[in-house]
Symmetry: C2
Subunit: 306 residues, 2 copies
Amino acid sequence: MIDKLIEGIKKKEAPIVVGLDPTEKLIPDYIIKKSIDRYGETLEAMGEAVWEYNKGLIDALYEHIPAVKPQIAMYERYGLAGLAAFKRTTDYCREKGLIVIGDVKRGDIGSTSAAYADAHLGTVKVGSKVIAPFGEDFATVNPYLGSDGIRPFVDVCKEHHKGIFVLVKTSNPSSGEYQDRLVDGRPLYEHVAGNIAAMASDCMGSTYSYIGAVVGATYPEQGRILRSLMPKSFILVPGYGAQGGKGADLVHFFNEDGLGAIINSSRGIIGAYQNEKYAHFGQEGYAEAALAAVKDMKEDIAQALA
Amino acid sequence: MIDKLIEGIKKKEAPIVVGLDPTEKLIPDYIIKKSIDRYGETLEAMGEAVWEYNKGLIDALYEHIPAVKPQIAMYERYGLAGLAAFKRTTDYCREKGLIVIGDVKRGDIGSTSAAYADAHLGTVKVGSKVIAPFGEDFATVNPYLGSDGIRPFVDVCKEHHKGIFVLVKTSNPSSGEYQDRLVDGRPLYEHVAGNIAAMASDCMGSTYSYIGAVVGATYPEQGRILRSLMPKSFILVPGYGAQGGKGADLVHFFNEDGLGAIINSSRGIIGAYQNEKYAHFGQEGYAEAALAAVKDMKEDIAQALA
């Protein structure tokens, strides 16, 4: 799957992933209104609104980007109806040739992590049938429980040719509270990175490993160090755009081959129509606004890398 | 909600919580077979089997225990049908007066944690309606992202009178990989505990805080230290039974008032019928076997505390 991701990045000249994180604030009012008119004031109405919104975005963007990253929390928030919209979104994206990075940040003790891995990247057997419960291509994983909480994901990745991105240094303001604390003279995130690098070297695609890392765009200096500590891992970089990261901050997340990083933007793309710069598209042009924002983001990153 | 939990523990003389973690290995074959006969080899069949299994357990146990802890991974593994069984289980438990601790181990950047908190402990507004998407009473939370990933859960707890248990020292073998690393001369988990204690003192029920911690029964020595570092927090203690923890290991997790800890057992209770000691109940007596195991667990803990 990492090879397919790299192929998509090269073909579409876009080391970017769009975060499909639908919230009431981002979904145009007319979509929500139409859905409530039809399904009443229910979670089903919100699930349908999420799906319609996403479908518009996917149809506008799929030829221009290699991957999407739905943040499952935004779907879980609408309960079962929201998760049905997550599944529908995932299926539709894969139908359109997009790689789906499930931003699920799961992680637990071994047997429980194995269940999460089956749910998101693997399959479950029912009688003689083999079924993929959610069927993403990549998932994000939380490392706090140590390697026996990560290994079940790695096993499922091996079997099903999928991949993971393990949280190393997250993009939020308080990420340093534990991640930056010095352990044997080095920040904790470097220890996490060292363990990922060791796992990654055993899990190689053609040129890169399918065991990657998450490092926030908001911490470019750490990005530079982490890039060198995990030479074979792709880095998933959230925090571009709305969270404050800029193209120039991203250079050090890439290797000299121009690969090794994929930059995520969520609100900055899917909510572009709310941004003054793209406001002329209007609510109903939300998907076209998103496409314009994707093109600008591609340009920003290309310039930074040039 | 912490007051209600304490009331339940006192009334039922049981500082215990049963982990409702249904897997193919634990659900009796006859239940799975019946469900597949009816729904085919589908995830729906597994969702129904999970629900029937859980209902039997809940009906047998609800008068004897204050709380249950469904591990959502075991439901997520069956996709949408599994999560529907999770919701049905949660609703039914609350109907029966049981407190539901959603073992979800969520945690993300602020806005995303807020979505998870709404999903599991709070409500969502759709038009003029206010709806609880999953409606657990407590949730477990992962601290790796720092306090801005935890605070949204605290805010929702305050508003909706719910509670959380934050992972401090987990029960799995490799939990020490990061959690035990020394930071300023003290293990990382003590730093996490210190932050929880500070939050907890601002979030008090009548005698205990609704901000608790998770500390594995498999680490009794650490339990003793963490107990004193978080005097006002309830400690949720997994790892009793199948994972190796024994009654005698649990003493130090409790305060001198005999409160402050709630011990979880999952497989040891819900899979008791597979244990030689309770095998005479047979598959169809799985719920009675679970009840016998609960009574033995209560006795084991009472003796240890005496």
